[in-house]
Each structure stands twice: as structure tokens, then as C-alpha cells.
């Protein structure tokens, strides 16, 4: 019973990742794409977590932390680029 639930959740996560990919490619505006990429990263974190439950192991916990950190950095950089037009400021103004 429990394995069936985890498998169904994994399939739902996979469908959600495909939908996020569609939004990244077809999104009409740039903020759509940024939010879709952020949701894609969070979905990957959940996917790896469910995979860890399914395989009954704790081996991928570093992978979850890495994906979460990189997705956060990417979202921050893209959001700053969208708002300011540049990623790294030169002077404190």
C-alpha cells in the first residue's frame, strides 16, 4: 500500500516536471519562465526525496541540499536580472 502511494506521488511529480518544462519553453513572459524554473527546482527536491523514501536510503540527502541551494541561487540571480537589468552591481548606490 505504502509503496503504491509513493509510486503514484513519483508519477505526479514527473508529470509536474513536464508541465514546468512546458511553461519554461512556451511561457509568454520572462517572469513566467523564472517562476517555472523555481518550481522546477523545488519539484526536483521533492522528486529526489520521494525516491529516497522509495529506495529506503539516506544516500541522496546531499543531492537534495545541492539542488535546493543551486535552485535558490538561480532564482535570486534571474529575479535580480529581471528587476535591475544586471546581475552583479558594481557600486553600493
Amino acid at each position: 500500500m505504502f509503496t503504491i502511494v509513493v509510486d503514484i506521488a513519483l508519477i505526479a511529480m514527473a508529470v509536474s516536471l513536464v508541465l514546468c518544462t512546458y511553461r519554461v519553453i512556451a511561457g509568454p513572459t520572462v517572469p513566467d519562465r523564472i517562476v517555472a524554473l523555481d518550481a522546477f527546482g523545488l519539484n526536483m527536491v521533492g522528486f529526489v526525496g520521494l525516491l529516497m523514501i522509495s529506495l529506503d536510503t539516506a544516500a541522496f540527502s546531499e543531492v537534495i541540499l545541492m539542488i535546493a541551494i543551486l535552485a535558490f541561487l538561480g532564482s535570486v540571480a534571474l529575479a535580480k536580472y529581471w528587476e535591475r537589468g544586471l546581475v552583479i552591481d558594481r557600486n553600493p548606490d
Binding site: 544516500a59 546531499e62 541540499l65 545541492m66 541551494i69 543551486l70 535558490f72 541561487l73 535570486v76 540571480a77 535580480k80 528587476e83 535591475r84 544586471l86 546581475v87 552583479i88 552591481d89 558594481r90 557600486n91 553600493p92
Partner: protein, 140 residues
């Protein structure tokens, strides 16, 4: 309208240290588990990149007065010297020596010469990633 980064800067002051601690964990986990100098260096570079994102190049240059090109050279020298120590002791290049040492508070610790070699790789990866990112980011 003038916007400011107060929220991002407040979060960065905490999260940078969390990412830095994770990178140090990855660096020392590299002996028997996933991790090592390369991936730890990339995590440290992303922690410093978050600082550059939230603040600006001028303030961070004042706070962290490192010349990253020199750090590349220091890392390469550490790695090469660790590899060449074994040549003077009669072994081949990059031969590894290890020993179990009893340290108070930690118990038995497995010390190897792979750790200083990894430290060199760590410094090279951090410095190269930041040199590339700053070279791209500076010509706005």
C-alpha cells in the same frame, strides 16, 4: 522609484554561512562518501556568489581582500607539493600515505596525504569559478 535589497541582504547574511558550513562538510566527507575538494569548492564559490549578488563588487572587495588569481597559484603549488613529497621519500608521484591518529575529543582519526591535495583543488576551484564569474559580471 528607487528599490532596495533589504530582504535579500538580510537573508544572505544567514544563508551564506549555512552554504559555507555545507561546503566544509562536503570537503571533509570526500574521503569515503560523496564530496571532495571539487564539489566543496563549487559550494564555497556559490556562497561567495550569493554575497556578490546581494551586495556589490566594491563592498565585497573591501570585505574579502583576496586576489583570486594568486589563490589559483597557491592551490596549484599545494597540490603539486603534496604529490612531490612522496618522490623524495622513494615512492612514485602522488603516492598516498595514511595513518590512524588518536585525537582527544574526536577519537581515532584517519589522516591521509589526500587531504592537503584536496585542499589545493578546493582553492583552485573556488578561485577559478569566482574569476570567471567576476570577469563576466564586471563588463556591464
Amino acid at each position: 522609484m528607487k528599490t532596495n535589497n533589504l530582504l535579500l541582504q538580510s537573508v544572505t547574511q544567514v544563508v551564506t554561512f549555512l552554504i559555507f558550513a555545507f561546503s566544509i562538510y562536503l570537503f571533509f566527507a570526500g574521503h569515503n562518501n560523496p564530496g571532495g575538494g571539487f564539489i566543496g569548492g563549487l559550494m564555497t564559490a556559490s556562497a561567495l556568489l550569493l554575497l556578490y549578488l546581494a551586495f556589490d563588487i566594491q563592498s565585497i572587495k573591501k570585505a574579502l581582500a583576496f586576489n583570486y588569481v594568486n589563490i589559483i597559484a597557491i592551490g596549484l603549488i599545494i597540490s603539486l607539493a603534496t604529490g612531490m613529497v612522496s618522490m623524495f621519500l622513494g615512492g612514485p608521484f602522488l603516492n598516498q600515505y595514511d595513518q590512524y591518529v588518536h585525537v582527544p575529543l574526536f577519537g581515532e582519526v584517519h589522516l591521509t596525504t589526500a587531504v592537503p591535495f584536496d585542499l589545493g583543488i578546493y582553492l583552485v576551484v573556488v578561485a577559478i569559478a569566482l574569476v570567471i564569474i567576476l570577469a563576466i559580471g564586471e563588463d556591464a
